[in-house]
């Protein structure tokens, strides 16, 4: 069995026991990237020399008899919207193509402290806006199960690299499903933690009340290992929670007894692919066989989730992305061309009101630096927040958000966890939805609720279509129930082997 075929937990044990060194493990994954990534396109940036230097430094530390952190020199891939000090953090945008953050995100500092090796930065939809990674300004990422299909998004690179065994662990971010949907499409395990469980300091903000960072891995045990390293309160993010962090690694393999699961009736019918539904039905049987009680629960406001989300998230995005002003950092339009353009406009229309050079600099720089989907969301959010529309759109959406949250509160009075598909459909073809943003948004049906309510949610593989494409099962829990989600996922994975299947790659 090759090094890359092992789970992160197995590799950690091998490194800790001295059977393998961190450098050997990292070299194996670098080789895999070298071999496969031209086809998959999961990574935007890999610096093999730096990776090996970091791995060797951890091996040296161990040889000197010093304590090595819980990640033991394992390679971890980083979504490229997480700031890494001195190293380009582009958000897959032309706007930040040369941006080198002056500090590390808290999750990056925590990974370094836990002795992880950062193996590379992964591709995403520009500024994490999208569900296919096609909105990247850098490159296209392919689904390792079928390279003509999308890996999902926005953490498409983060999920694809784990599926193709180019990294054992990977950090993604999730604002409306951006960890869980690509995890489902790529046949891997992805967890969006409770809002506030993981510090967002140094995550380039998209929608601040919805964004969370979380682990993507081959199985629940590996996700627990990575979550343990990044969870916890941070003085640099005042929305991070002071709630104590349980030892996820310790509890993940403890089975739950008397587990009550609710099947989301609104996600179990029209609008969901029949193969996805039958895989979910099979998963229900697995949980039954493990002693869980499963009954239907209703989320009456579920059908309004996407509408509320596509007001709230773009509104927050329009505000967050106002910082890209081409003055402090980021892309700036060519000034000489811009000044010539203004002069020409003035001579053509001497009495007209001319735009100031500063305003024109903002407008042209942002027009050239942002891609189409980012512009669309900024426009949508600016519109929803503008005078005369604020009450009808933004305020209304915030009220509906509370109704959605109440659906969750009521469900969790009856059951411990709720279950349903992660996505309404199978991975779609590259380009299939490029001209239809609304259809693309509707793909977020099953995932946006957890972000609006702030609750944790995990996607795990639960089957394959006849055409060989992975299907994801979503489990959602009440706030801070990550341990329970991981335990339930582990129970499921101890009875099934969907998570152990690998795509056939050259």
């Amino acid at each position: 069995m090759s090094i890359c075929a092992h789970s992160a937990t197995e590799l950690k044990n091998k490194i800790d026991s001295g059977e393998l060194s961190s450098a050997q493990v990292c070299r194996a994954f670098l080789d895999q990237i070298e071999r496969l990534d031209e086809k998959i396109g999961a990574f935007i940036q890999v610096d093999p020399d730096q990776v090996l230097r970091d791995a060797e430094a951890i091996d040296q530390k161990r040889l000197r008899g010093e304590t090595v952190g819980p990640l033991s020199g394992l390679p971890v891939a980083i979504k490229d919207n997480l700031c890494t000090q001195g190293q380009v953090t582009s958000c897959a945008s032309k706007m930040l193509a040369n941006f080198r953050p002056p500090y590390d995100a808290t999750v990056i500092a925590k990974l370094r402290a836990a002795d992880a090796v950062l193996i590379g930065k992964t591709n995403l939809d520009e500024f994490a806006m999208g569900g296919s990674t096609e909105n990247s300004a850098v490159k296209q990422t392919a689904n390792p199960w079928d390279v003509n299909r999308v890996p999902g998004g926005s953490s498409g690179g983060a999920a694809a690299c784990v599926a193709a065994k180019m990294a054992p662990l990977s950090l993604g971010t999730d604002t409306g499903g951006s960890i869980r949907q690509p995890a489902a499409f790529c046949g891997v395990t992805g967890l969006k933690p409770t809002y506030g469980r993981v510090s967002r300091y140094g995550l380039v903000a998209f929608a601040s009340s919805l964004d969370q960072i979380g682990p993507i891995a081959a199985n629940a045990g590996d996700a627990a290992l990575l979550l343990s390293a990044i969870a916890g309160h941070d003085a640099l993010d005042s929305t991070s929670s002071p709630e104590a962090v349980p030892d996820y690694v310790d509890v993940v393999s403890q089975p739950l007894t008397g587990l009550k699961i609710g099947l989301v009736s609104e996600h179990h019918g029209a609008g969901v692919d029949s193969e996805v539904l039958s895989a979910v039905d099979q998963a229900v049987k697995v949980f039954h066989s493990l002693g869980a009680e499963v009954h239907e629960v209703s989320f009456p406001h579920s059908k309004y989730g996407i509408a509320a989300y596509y007001i709230i998230a773009p509104s927050e995005a329009s505000s967050n992305l106002a910082r890209f002003d081409s003055a402090h950092y980021g892309y700036r339009t060519d000034e000489a061309t811009m000044m010539a353009e203004l002069a020409a406009e003035k001579s053509a229309n001497p009495k007209g009101e001319a735009e100031s050079p500063l305003i024109r600099m903002y407008r042209k720089s942002r027009a050239e630096g942002f891609g189409t989907e980012v512009k669309r969301r900024i426009m949508l959010g600016t519109y929803a927040l503008s005078a005369g529309y604020y009450d009808a759109y933004y305020l209304k959406a915030l009220k509906v958000r509370r109704l959605i949250r109440q659906d969750y509160d009521q469900a969790f009075q009856q059951v411990d966890l709720v279950l349903g598909p992660s996505t309404p459909g199978l991975p779609f073809c590259l380009g299939e939805m490029a001209d239809d943003p609304l259809s693309m948004y509707l793909q977020d049906l099953c995932t946006v609720g957890a972000n609006l309510a702030g609750v944790p949610s995990i996607s795990i593989p639960c089957g394959f279509s006849k055409s060989g494409l992975p299907i994801g099962l979503q489990l959602q829990g009440p706030a801070f129930a990550e341990a329970k989600l991981l335990q339930a996922a582990h129970m499921f994975q101890s009875q099934t082997d969907w998570h152990q299947r690998h795509p056939e790659l050259p």
Binding site: G196, S209, F370, K375
Partner: protein
């Protein structure tokens, strides 16, 4: 409520985006479709519902009032498209 080209042009100025004619056309159509979709929220009676701006409705969080080192000026200027030793440089704001 439908969106027209002049709404889109107005919003583009507010958003500090310069859109081409083609983009204004496409944006008018696409935003119109999305806005028509989100209109479904008006089916719900929310008169007695408090808006929820945040998932975790925390009380105000205060930081200790202590002096800490902040970002070095040169580090802050490093990513600027145009800067001198002290400041971010932008085109003239006042006068010609």
């Amino acid at each position: 409520m439908s969106l027209n080209r002049s709404d889109v042009e107005k919003v583009a100025l507010l958003a500090r985006l310069q859109l081409s004619e083609v983009e204004v056309d496409a944006m008018t159509k696409q935003l119109g479709k999305i806005v028509a979709y989100v209109e479904m929220l008006s089916e719900l009676d929310t008169n007695d519902v408090q808006p929820m701006a945040h998932a975790v409705e925390l009380e105000n969080v205060f930081a200790d009032d202590v002096v800490r080192p902040s970002l070095d000026r040169m580090d802050a200027l490093k990513n600027a498209p145009k800067a001198d030793e002290e400041c971010f440089r932008v085109p003239a704001v006042l006068g010609d």
